[in-house]
């Protein structure tokens, strides 16, 4: 897929998308499926911006990773619920099928995979969302072998799209799962990442600041070239407090 300047301008246009489906991932997140009129087809890894508009003109907007494959008729967004989050709270509690939401996208051409070269996706928690889009796309184009995945969360229940990831053979690490199930590591540590590092692949690392920093250093120690590592940090967990900044 190539993207022309024309597409880029079209992607920047705000559109009124219709909410087709709303699903909840426990209290952690809401998964929205949107019908976006005249949409520009995304590349797995790209994101959308959703903008809420009040009657007095006040707006609030946030970016969310696209989870759906490019070929999907709808755009699926994984919206992690931020404690006290103005936008994510509204999307999770108020929005229902049939509502209209302003959105624009797809945005970002760096953390994006076209399904051609080998790729390694490493995600922590909600950071798996863009990797699931990559996974669905790899399946669609019949090249599942191009994409390796290593993901982690505290518990199985905390891992978005767990069944889909496990079915695809992703390395799943659960750091606080009581009575570890005996398969896979409990953490994505240096050894686990060393085993999946692939200097010939582009590494897509997505998660909190702390998670991505750790994964980067494991990848570098495992010989993954610096220039092959692409990082996306997002969500509330993309933040680190000042006193944590030097870890």
């Amino acid at each position: 897929m190539t993207e022309t300047g024309h597409d880029r301008r079209l992607a920047a246009v705000w559109r009124d998308a219709r909410v087709v489906d709303v699903r909840h991932h426990g209290d952690l997140a809401v998964i929205l499926r949107l019908d976006v009129p005249d949409r520009v087809i995304h590349r797995p890894g790209q994101h959308y911006v959703v903008r809420l508009r009040a009657e007095d003109g006040y707006t609030a907007s946030r970016s969310y990773s696209t989870v759906s494959a490019p070929s999907d008729d709808l755009v699926e967004l994984y919206v992690e619920r931020v404690p006290d989050g103005e936008v994510s709270g509204f999307l999770a509690e108020v929005v229902e099928p049939g509502d209209e939401l302003e959105c624009r996208g797809p945005i970002g051409r760096w953390f994006a995979w076209d399904g051609r070269g080998p790729a390694l996706g490493i995600g922590g928690g909600s950071g798996v969302a863009p990797l699931v889009s990559m996974l669905r796309h790899a399946r669609e184009v019949g090249r599942p072998e191009l994409l390796s995945l290593a993901v982690s969360a505290r518990t199985a229940a905390d891992l978005p799209y767990r069944e889909e990831l496990e079915a695809a053979g992703a390395l799943v690490a659960l750091s606080r799962e009581p009575g570890a199930r005996g398969i896979g590591p409990s953490r994505l540590d240096a050894a686990a990442i060393g085993a999946v590092a692939d200097p010939g692949a582009t590494a897509f690392v997505c998660g909190s600041a702390r998670f991505t920093l750790a994964m980067e250093s494991y990848l570098l120690s495992a010989g993954q070239p610096e220039g092959s590592i692409r990082v996306e940090r997002f969500g509330p967990s993309g933040e680190i407090d000042e006193d944590e900044a030097d870890t």
């Binding site: 301008r9 920047a12 009040a54 609030a60 945005i107 600041a209 610096e226 993309g238 680190i240 030097d246």
Partner: protein, 206 residues
């Protein structure tokens, strides 16, 4: 544009902090980290910043040189910063040296119109010269009185606080003056060429 059913927002438009540009929210005391590449370990002892390109006097400084140049009363920016991902951090401070001081030494040629900031990671971002002169840009090594952390671009980064923060290169290593605009990393990857938060110049096409 359609009103979102049921949405009133945390604050009424009229109550919004006037320091917040449109579409931004106040992130409070935290400071999110956003980077596209692996976070480098830059050795402050061996680090240097060069200014080159269309200048009469290409110059390179070590961190020690910069601190000496800044002297006792180094320049401090106190104010707000705005990230394109919609957070703003209000009333924060950075200490370093005004880019004006460094450009005074390097002496831009009359035909120079733009700069490119380049990081040790090869991250690049482009700006018109007028956006980094006249007290609008700083090369900084402290945030709120403490050494700038690695995640936030330490040991030394640029800040151009009146534009979205991707225009403020972390781990700065080189500033090149050009007679033309040369789009950098995000500018080639879907983001706006200038990035004025008050005009919401977020993405290409805004």
């Amino acid at each position: 544009m359609a009103i979102t059913r049921g949405f009133t927002g945390r604050r009424r438009q009229a109550e919004r902090d006037p320091r917040l540009p449109p579409g931004q929210y106040d992130v409070g005391r935290s400071w999110p980290v956003l980077t596209a590449e692996a976070t480098p370990r830059v050795d402050a002892e061996r680090w240097s910043l060069g200014i080159d390109g269309l200048v009469a006097n290409p110059t390179s400084w070590s961190l020690r040189d910069l601190k000496k140049l800044a002297g006792q009363d180094s320049d401090t920016y106190r104010g707000d910063i705005h990230c394109v991902t919609t957070w703003s951090k209000l009333d924060t401070s950075f200490t370093g040296i005004s880019l004006d001081t460094l450009l005074e030494i390097a002496q831009p040629s009359p035909e120079a119109t733009h700069i490119v900031e380049e990081s040790t990671t090869r991250y690049r971002t482009n700006l018109p010269l007028e956006d980094v002169t006249g007290g609008k840009a700083w090369v900084v090594w402290e945030h709120e009185g403490k050494p700038l952390s690695r995640e936030h671009g330490g040991p030394v980064r640029v800040i151009v606080p009146h534009l979205y923060f991707w225009k403020s290169a972390k781990w700065i290593s080189r500033i090149t003056l050009l007679d033309r605009d040369e789009p950098g990393f995000w500018e080639l990857n879907g983001y706006h060429d200038r990035g004025d938060p008050w005009l919401e110049q977020r993405f290409d096409g805004d």
